[in-house]
């Protein structure tokens, strides 16, 4: 089954927090402003939003990957 999964590059992430604003359904922020991702693949209905969230990251640390 093919799906999509979000990953954060923890070194690249600078805690801008834009991802959590773009995709609050799947991304929360910890108390220091770093993203906490929901477990598992991105629900199919949120893939377009997830792609926008990844594109919104100023540090290019959030990625949406296809998984098989």
């Amino acid at each position: 089954m093919t799906g999509h999964r979000l990953t954060v590059d923890p070194i690249g992430c600078r805690a801008h927090g834009l991802c959590a604003e773009a995709l609050p359904e799947a991304i929360g922020l910890d108390e220091w402003g770093y993203p906490v991702l929901a477990n598992g693949p991105v629900p199919p209905g949120l893939v377009a939003e997830a792609r926008r969230a990844a594109a919104a990251c100023p540090a290019l640390a959030l990625r949406l990957r296809k998984v098989h």
Binding site: I11, D30, E31, W32, Y34, V36
Partner: protein
């Protein structure tokens, strides 16, 4: 009545072996027997059949690592850094049996068709003299150089070593690209702990079946035992029996820390288990009843927080916060437990290396094993031992 098990010490001799005594003890390294493409395949199969796993803490199957390194001009990195303050086995091994490690380096180099090997130790390591003397005695097909790594805990993490040897920056870079694909200088790289490499040398000599039957572990035992140090014990020995090999408990024991600074606390009642069942390096620290496990853990967490490479937010901010919560807990701050309940589960898996995961494992295990001390610290601002003594 317990039976004291005295295995034939196979890996660690009682004093340093030079090349002549090494070869008298173990025989000449069977490098030629595993040469050529067919020999390499046979060697990897033998290591697989021996079920050899990495002895640097991660426990990954060594045969799979060997098989993953493909391509030209590969590099072998022998990791002898041993950043954990509760482990001395690698340093002891390099000091007493350097040729066993170097035999393993050559066997591994042959198996992955490497043209170069680097033996890494921390800067100022006491094992350097022994290693250099051993290298001067040998005529190896693959040249081995010694690299001194900055004395930071995470500098000996696999990707940090590769990064340091390539760029001079000793910070972890993450899981991708894997060293097997693009490692030192962009070349396919095998990174193995020096203890693992010594075991390779034993597997090559004994064969998988005999090796499995007589397999031993090198374990660092510290704390409240009569003879702290590195012991060689039969693999799978219960932790309680392992302590007997270190002279036995020097005073009544309340708990043991297994796996080093990123390890797990076990109450004394749980020491019937064996080391392989607990994640982390082969290290046992024995905490006597007279000491406070929370106090000990707080100091370790502060050290771990200070050792962060400060690259990833959850580690850079999370570890000092967690260490601070433990310090507050010691002073009787009742809210610290709630903060830890929230913070501890939030950090694991969110750094580029496993450094924060180890700190969380340590903290979570301490809260579970020293639960009564937590209550005592909050009520009386001191641990159970001191509260009892004062009563």
């Amino acid at each position: 009545m317990t039976t004291v098990f005295t295995p034939m010490a196979r890996t660690l001799p009682s004093h340093r072996l030079d090349l002549a005594t090494h070869e008298r003890t173990h025989g000449i390294s069977p490098l030629a027997a595993f040469s050529g493409a067919e020999g390499r395949r046979r060697f990897v199969a033998e290591v697989g059949a021996a079920d050899l796993r990495g002895r640097g803490g991660a426990g990954f199957p060594t045969a799979r690592k060997l098989a993953a390194v493909q391509g030209r001009r590969a590099v072998v990195v022998a990791n002898g850094c041993e950043g954990d303050p509760l482990s001395h086995k690698d340093n002891t091994l390099l000091t007493l049996a350097p040729h066993l490690v170097l035999d393993g380096v050559q066997l591994a180099a042959q198996a992955v068709a490497a043209t170069e090997a680097v033996l890494c130790v921390h800067r100022g390591s006491t094992a350097i003299a022994s290693v250099l003397a051993a290298l001067a005695e040998r005529r190896d097909p693959v040249p081995v150089r010694v690299a001194e790594i900055p004395p930071r805990y995470v500098a000996s993490e696999e990707s940090a070593l590769v990064n340091y040897l390539t760029t001079g920056d000793a910070r972890p870079t993450g899981k991708e690209p894997r060293p097997a694909e693009r490692g030192v200088g962009g070349r396919p790289t095998l990174v193995d702990n020096v203890d693992t490499l010594a075991q390779l040398a034993l597997v090559a000599r004994a064969g998988a079946d005999a090796y499995r039957r007589s397999r031993t572990d090198l374990v660092t035992v510290s704390g409240a035992v009569r003879s702290p140090g590195v012991v060689e014990v039969q693999a799978g020995l219960p932790i309680a029996d392992l302590l007997v090999r270190a002279g036995g408990a020097a005073e009544p024991v309340q708990a043991v820390l297994v796996g080093g600074y990123g390890g797990t606390w076990l109450p004394w009642a749980a020491t019937g288990t064996h080391l392989g069942a607990v994640p982390g390096i082969a290290s046992v620290h024995v905490l006597p009843v007279s000491a406070c496990g929370l106090d000990f853990t707080t100091k370790m967490l502060a050290q771990l927080a200070g050792e962060s490479a400060r690259q990833c937010g959850p580690c850079m901010f999370g570890l000092p916060a967690i260490a601070g919560d433990f310090a507050a807990l010691l002073q009787g701050d009742a809210d610290a437990v709630a903060r830890l309940d929230r913070r501890l589960p939030l950090v694991t898996g969110r750094g580029t290396c496993a450094h924060p995961d180890g700190a969380v494992r340590l903290g979570a295990a301490a809260l579970a094993v020293f639960r009564d001390d937590v209550t005592s610290h909050i009520r009386h601002r001191r641990c159970l031992t001191r509260a009892r003594r004062a009563a």
